[in-house]
Amino acid sequence: MKIIVDRTKCTGLGICESLAPEVFEVDDAGDLVLKTETVPAGTLADVEEAIAGCPTEALRLES
């Protein structure tokens, strides 16, 4: 499963980072960095919560 960020929507609010910090991190400039492009084992539920929790609906999964 690949994680896709829509850069036109993301504003770096960081909710994804707080829900799945092993995958998402907002950098110093406020841009979202994917620490990995695919969902690490055991984190799917967290990643799905992060996707649901994104206020700008900028995240999705692609299989």
């Binding site: 770096g12 609010l13 960081g14 909710i15 707080s18 991190e25 110093d28 400039a29 206020p55």
Partner: protein, 411 residues
């Protein structure tokens, strides 16, 4: 629960998330979504931010879903522009537009309404900023170059002032408290953030209150307690919000600054749960009742309230570290946790001088809050620490590590 009728009262973020969660979990019964506004569910945070920056008719309503998605894909019956008028828990019914609608499970998500000021009704040019209709009216006034007075230096007020300044308009912000944002971030940091207004040419007047709104049918001036009269074409009232519980009077639910709920958002009436701004629930993480007016908690509570209402036997508690953000001028302000603290320590940067830095909030020996100003990479790390119940000492050590790493990176 097998097929039945889920009624969700309140068609904003929490209500939308309630119906979406129900369908996601496979609920195939009937769902009715009741909204006081005539609009489809839309996103409120942009209304005081980028929505105000658009001019004329550009900048559309930030609707979450199309009507087709709601009706066809999610199978939701929409009753919009029809506020609920009563709740009868004994007969399990909600009053909407003169009829009584039965429910098997009910989610109350009626949100909050902007607090009005005495004398503002009947005066054109005076607005609160809560709904998209409010935002359209405020934007139209800004389009005409209105001399703007903002009452209340909270987030709505500050964001509105920033939008007016961005257009080069004169803005006065009047705040009754000695510093802005006291309830949100505490007095010390509220004072530090006041400098943002000064830097951007907003005339901030703290410690004065409004004594009268004057004009013949339309606002002409605002009178203050220090005797000043401010000429104005537009007045935006950002005086906070009150939970929308009027329709629940006499329902038997406990109303006390919101609908009082337990950890699972259960109201005490069978099948009835509450979510979002209207819900005052027990947050186990801080072991206290809370009512939040934040995007994140509205979204999360909406989904959980529906799940718990449909399957009470497996109801889960809602535990969260509150999070909110605000964009003012070119500054992003983020806060996690709670601002009531025994001590506040700036651990990175200088918030007042540079509008950049991190402040930590201590209660007892625990980290309970963190404020980040233009430090977007820091904030969620502290949310993690608060969630894990980190001690103050651990938080300070962590902050030192972060600061050193930053200095090394910039060396």
């Amino acid at each position: 629960m097998g097929p039945g009728h889920l009624v969700v009262v309140g068609a904003s973020l929490a209500g939308l998330r309630a119906v979406e969660a129900a369908r996601k979990d496979g609920f195939d019964g009937r769902i009715t979504l009741v909204g006081a506004e005539r609009h489809l569910p839309y996103d409120r945070p942009p209304l005081s931010k980028e929505f105000l920056d658009a001019t004329g008719e550009q900048g559309t309503m930030p609707a979450f879903r199309t009507e087709e998605v709601l009706r066809a894909d999610l199978g939701v019956e929409l009753l919009l522009g029809t506020p609920a008028t009563f709740l009868d828990t004994r007969n399990r019914a909600v009053g909407v537009g003169g009829q009584s609608i039965g429910y098997d499970a009910l989610v109350i998500a009626t949100g909050s309404t902007a607090r009005q000021l005495p004398g503002m009704r009947g005066l054109d040019g005076v607005h609160t900023l809560r709904t998209v209709d409010d935002a359209v009216a405020v934007r139209r006034a800004l389009d005409t170059g209105a001399r703007t007075v903002v009452i209340g230096a909270g987030f709505i007020g500050a964001e509105t002032a920033a939008a007016a300044r961005k257009r080069g308009l004169d803005v006065v912000v009047v705040e009754a408290q000695p510093t802005p944002l006291v309830r949100a971030v505490g007095e010390t940091m509220g004072g530090a953030l006041a400098s943002l207004h000064l830097r951007h040419g907003t005339d901030l007047r703290c410690g004065v209150s409004v004594t009268a709104l004057e004009g013949e049918g339309r606002i002409e001036r605002v009178r203050l307690s220090d005797g000043t009269a401010l000429d104005a074409d537009l007045v935006v009232v950002g005086a906070g919000a009150v939970p929308a519980t009027d329709w629940l009077e006499g329902s038997g639910l406990t109303l006390d600054n919101g609908v009082v709920c337990d950890e699972t958002l259960f109201t005490g009436a069978e099948g009835v749960y509450a979510a979002g701004d209207v819900a005052r629930w027990h947050n186990p993480l801080f072991d206290r009742p809370m009512r939040l007016e934040h995007w994140t908690s509205a979204a999360e509570q909406g989904a959980l309230a529906a799940r718990n209402a449909l399957n009470p036997a497996a109801a889960r508690g809602y535990s969260t570290v509150p999070y909110f953000w605000s964009d003012q001028y070119d500054t992003r302000i983020q806060f996690v946790g709670i601002p009531e603290a025994d001590e506040i320590s700036v651990v990175d940067g200088d918030i007042e001088r540079d509008h950049r830095g991190v402040a930590l909030y201590r209660a007892g020996d625990r980290l309970v809050g963190a404020l980040a100003v233009n430090r977007p990479t820091e904030i969620m790390k502290y949310r993690g620490l608060i969630t894990r119940g980190a001690s103050w000492a651990d938080a300070l050590t962590f902050a030192q590590t972060r600061r050193k790493a930053r200095e090394t990176a910039h060396a």
